[in-house]
Amino acid sequence: MIYMQGSFVDKIRSRNFVITAEITPPKGSNPFNAIEDAALIRNLVDAINITDNNRGVMRMSPISLGKVLQQQGYEPIIQMTCRDRNRLALQSDLLGAAALGLKNFCIMTGDHVSCGDHLGAKSVYDLDSVQLISMIRKMESGFDFSGNKLEDPPEFILGAVSNINPLKKGQMLKLRKKATFGLDFIQTQAVYDTEMFKNFCKLIGDLETPIIAGIIPLKSARMARFMNANIPGIHIDGEIIDRLDMSKDPIQEGLDISCEIIKDISDICQGIHLMPVGQHLNTQKLLKQAGF
């Protein structure tokens, strides 16, 4: 199966399976490494999802890198967090992005400044993710946050993110609030517990919103233990960690595990989102192995 550029919007709207992949912008002004990383997955994914100062670490604007990658023939999804901008700056960036032809956005609260490399910076959170989604839908209807009329209202494809643990009832309730404003997709935290993911899909099935499952290939048992201990929303079973521990080729074992997860859940979700740690060196191999 070949995934062509520009296919994300069409596929998400027509409820076909999508493959997206994450790229982190450079900490510098040269987009070359990001372009090189994207080239590793050209024609393999429907869209490239670009992070917004993720973990609170300052990097190139995802809107700028999104435009660069779009010019290279990729379809970008711009992540937008609530951490760094007030309601004026968010709207201004959204209008600017629309003018550049960047219309796919994935909305999230954003990791706190204290997680990152600019301790002491102001954490803005003027809006939360529910309010940001609401504001964007209002902009589409032709009005800014304050109710002033917009010339040529923008149109966006909007996604939200979620953890998959149904026991996190507050988070599940918040996802429902986001959905009241209309979501084009829901992108999840990395899935390792497929039963939990299936329960999550059942729990929110009534929203009838495409769910894109997060996939992070593990590289070692150490990485798995680190993620369990430090990354919220990650649940890696002891059995998976044992497999990585005992394997002579843990990187291949990690790809095998990801492949099994993808095969187990691909019938109940509408896409996968690949977030390898580091570059997309093994993404092609993983997708081929998973039958794409």
Partner: protein, 203 residues
Amino acid sequence: MIISEDKPIAEILESIENHSSIFIVGCNTCAAKLHVGGEQEILSMKSVLENSGKKVVGWALPTAACSIRSWDHLAEKDRSINKADALLVMACGSGASVISKLGTIDVFPSNNTVSLGGSYKGEVLPDQCKMCGNCTLFYFGGICPYSQCPKKLLNGPCGGCSDDGACETDNDKECVWELIYKKLDEKNSLYLLERIFEPKVNK
């Protein structure tokens, strides 16, 4: 209660390095309760300043440093204030600001003000209110997420809460949204969480 805490003594000494005759003003309300501006702390500060070569001409402990009628009213407590070339205020920023209005004498704060909090069963509770000007405390079971969540989230938790309920910013702090959920569950009022809150109108 306004929560304030001691500045490092080195910072205080640096701020008053060009002044030699110091008058200390405490506060017998919040700062005294928090042991950062009561009589004992004033006497301790006096001793530290004197050991550092400063002359402490006197001190006063008004009922509230943030509520002073006039210079004369403050001076009634200790006339030696008129010999001072600087005031050191052991109170919150509001107290130091009000004291600064009394005249042209240089006023230095000795405390850092950190939050609007309270005290319950002897425990100091920081960040009970962010003074947003639009109180919605009831809807959150009496636990304000705007003041206690580091992201000020009004519509539910972020994804950064750990499995055991710790806040993304501090492993030792329980996510305030976990506390809100538990409290509303206890009150049989979880329905309140379904309400969608608009962004605050910032002052």
